[in-house]
């Protein structure tokens, strides 16, 4: 292996790592606030990319119906809850109406515009809205369940969302234009600007989340909600809202990863699942609780995957997923420190 080959492998490995990183931090975000190991996180990548592809084709993304129906069911559940708790039903109705109006306006705007930025924003908003809906329908009815139950919920959601993408968009891949088609020449090789965008967004998102949970009161409140649900509730932290918020942010991050990945590999219904799994392996390095460590984990994983495929393309996935075992052993030794972490 010469130097040029190694540089090529490293550059593409790091791009991949950055894509996984966004999913990795979404997983950490959800786990630290709700204790859900969200297997379905990769599907938001698929949905984000395909929604953008629909808008670019000048069609209304079919995800609108999913968000619409899911939102309506959530609203009905919330109204029922409000009636049972003898609270005013005006508040949930007004909230849902406001969110619905914003989403509808964005969708219509994206449908009629040719501006890529607006279309990306609308795709991001629509898919992010799926996050709290999924939370409302699957996790929220089971407060305080054990991790195993929550993992199985995640598996179930993944098994619904994956075929749903096939149903809504069909099996054909769609190409999505890059934000910039250019390539940055670096000596004998080059890097697509799109790859640099992916890396920049990953780094920014990680830093922002890390700062948010470490330094702000709201971030600390969110973390508290997962450590001790009831305690947090007594302190006046709206636990349910915390869960919805974290699912929203996580869906947004993963969808962003999909939007940025789509120009590199096209948008198709199978793209997200493997990205989700690899994001998980990387995030496992940070024990699903530590942002910088998780990002270091996924970036290492991306680079390692790149070199592993070069050495033996048939066994690359085996090598990558086998990484979980040493990571677990290493995590086990440091388990005590992490308990203090959250």
């Amino acid at each position: 292996m010469d130097l040029q080959t190694a540089l090529f492998l490293l550059a593409d490995g790091l791009t991949n790592g950055a894509v996984y990183a966004l999913v990795g931090v979404s997983l950490v975000l959800i786990y630290t606030t709700t204790r859900v190991v969200n297997i379905a996180q990769g599907e938001y990548v698929t949905f984000g990319a395909l929604t953008l592809a629909s808008f670019i084709e000048g069609a209304i993304a079919p995800v609108v119906w999913v968000v619409g129906i899911g939102g309506a069911v959530s609203l009905a559940l919330d109204v029922r809850q409000a009636i049972l708790n003898r609270r005013s039903v005006v508040r949930p109705v007004a909230q849902y109406a406001a969110i619905g109006a914003v989403l509808a306006a964005l969708t219509l705007a994206a449908w009629h515009t040719r501006s890529l930025a607006l279309q990306m924003l609308a795709a991001l908003a629509l898919v992010s809205a799926l996050g709290p809906i999924v939370y409302r329908l699957t996790v929220e009815p089971k407060p305080g369940s054990s991790t195993v139950v929550l993992v199985i919920i995640g598996v179930g959601v993944s098994m619904i969302m994956h075929p749903m993408a096939l149903l809504l968009w069909g099996p054909d891949p769609r190409s999505v234009p890059a934000i910039s088609d250019g390539r940055l020449p670096l000596g004998p090789m080059d890097i697509a600007y799109q790859s640099l965008f992916v890396m920049a967004v990953s780094i920014l998102a990680t830093l922002a989340l890390f700062a948010f949970f470490r330094f702000t009161l709201l971030g600390k409140a969110l973390r508290a909600a997962s450590v001790n649900r009831e305690g947090a509730q007594y302190c006046g932290i709206p636990v349910v809202l915390a869960g919805r918020l974290s699912f929203f942010l996580a869906a947004a991050l993963s969808a962003a990863s999909g939007l940025l990945l789509a120009p590199l590999v096209t948008a198709h219904y199978e793209m997200g699942f493997v990205v989700g799994l690899k994001g998980f392996v990387g995030a496992a390095m940070g024990g699903l609780v530590n942002y910088p460590l998780s990002v270091a984990g996924v970036v290492t994983l991306g680079a390692l995957e790149s070199f592993a495929s070069f050495l033996s393309s048939s066994y690359r996935d085996a090598l990558v997923f086998a990484l979980v075992i040493p990571i677990m052993l290493w995590r086990n030794r440091h388990a005590q420190e992490d308990l203090d972490e959250h």
Binding site: F8, V19, L264, T266, S306, A308, S309, S313
Partner: protein
């Protein structure tokens, strides 16, 4: 009022249907179909399901046949176990004369035993040659899709003719890629082509650079891809990016609109193995397949919309039309007689199909060959200005 009217219409329908059925006293030809309407293979089955629905309507309206065709359709959910149950039910309860099963290779392999036990002819829509081989043990199973072996044989001959001796293989790491690799390796050895590298990637991969770098390092005379879009086009693009500039071949999974729309300029010049369907407009009028393919595209696109006709639909179309044609060759007395004898006679009639100009190709079944296609049904095309152009033989 509206409700009343629709009620009346419903009553009329109920009254009319038996009358129409009674008027038609031709004997029934029962075709049982098992497709993967749901499950993992549903995307592959979609074309076949549409083609069979279309033929059901078309054959029902056809008064010229001495029998009426009835379809009994089941879904195996892409699960071989369900396919076995469905075929057994079709053979024993529905008493069909022939089954068309199944979409996938695993399901088709699984039902082979039942088909032989029940002595009922079956036409498989699966890709792998193993479904019908050896023909002496798979007496009742036929298939219509072009095999990888047939296509690769043709493609590798082209490489030999052009003097490419050192060839690299890049394929998917699933059963499709594996099937292609086994055939490629065996045929390359036979033809004296040296396989200098064999790399794998998966459908969901986001990075093809490592494999491409490794292939490019061997400086092969040509590279062969056995994959489907988008990964086929993306890996092709990456291979060019890392500095490989030689000829690039693709297998039968590539010639789809998606390949062109994903690959854009990067796939210009790619040489792709395909069937007549992809290039039927460019075939000379005298070509034996021109009429059959054009007619099929006209009917299918006329029903489902422009550009909808694909290989999966064409395979199913032939899989229905071949037995319908064979059934009309079976003597009327046998057709109306004992079911076991009727099935055996149908099997023999299918095996005796000679020079049938289907949509996929020219079928010549024989006791040794239950695919019945030869290199007259395979074509090589190249990508030029964003479309597939037929290469001269």
């Amino acid at each position: 009022m509206k409700l009343l009217r629709s009620c009346m219409a419903a009553v009329w329908l109920v009254l009319l249907v038996p009358v129409a059925a009674m008027a038609d006293n031709r004997p029934e030809f029962r075709i049982g179909t098992v497709n993967s309407v749901t499950g993992g293979a549903s995307a592959i089955a979609a074309g076949a399901v549409s083609a069979i629905d279309l033929l059901e309507q078309k054959l029902a309206a056809d008064d010229s046949l001495p029998f009426k065709v009835r379809f009994i359709k089941y879904d195996d959910g892409s699960d071989p176990a369900k396919a076995i149950n469905a075929v057994r039910k079709l053979a024993q309860e529905d008493k069909v004369h022939i089954v068309i099963c199944c979409t996938t290779t695993p399901s088709s392999m699984a039902v082979n035993k039942i088909v032989e036990e029940e002595k009922i002819p079956n036409i498989s829509l699966a890709a792998a040659a193993s479904v019908i081989e050896p023909a002496s043990e798979r007496r009742f199973t036929f298939k219509t899709p072009i095999t990888d072996r047939l296509m690769l044989d043709f493609t590798l001959d082209d490489m030999v003719r052009k003097g490419y001796r050192r060839v690299a293989f890049m394929g998917l790491d699933d059963s499709y890629g594996e099937g292609g690799w086994v055939e490629f390796n065996a045929l390359a050895k036979k033809k004296g082509i040296e396989v200098v590298a064999a790399e794998r990637f998966s459908r969901g991969d986001t990075n093809f650079t490592p494999q491409a770098l490794r292939v490019a390092r061997h400086k092969p005379d040509a590279v062969y891809f056995h994959a489907i879009p988008p990964s086929a086009a993306l890996a092709h693009e990456t291979l060019k990016r890392v500095g490989y500039s030689g000829p690039i071949y693709h297998g039968g999974g590539a010639p789809t609109p998606a390949f062109l729309s994903v690959g854009k300029r990067a796939v210009e010049g790619a040489i792709v193995g395909t069937a007549a369907l992809t290039v039927h407009k460019q075939l000379p009028d005298a070509h034996p397949l021109k009429k059959a393919v054009s007619d099929f595209v006209k009917i299918y696109d006329g029903h489902y919309g422009e550009g909808k006709a694909d290989m999966f639909a064409a395979q199913a179309y032939d899989a229905v039309m071949i037995p319908v044609r064979a059934w009309s060759k079976v003597p009327a007395a046998t057709r109306g007689g004992d079911l076991v004898q009727a099935r055996a006679a149908l099997r023999d009639a299918i095996e005796n199909t000679r020079d049938y100009h289907g949509v996929i190709g020219i079928f010549n079944f024989s006791p040794e060959d239950h695919l019945g296609l030869d290199s007259r049904s395979t074509f090589l095309v190249t990508v030029k200005d964003g479309r597939f152009v037929l290469l001269e033989r």
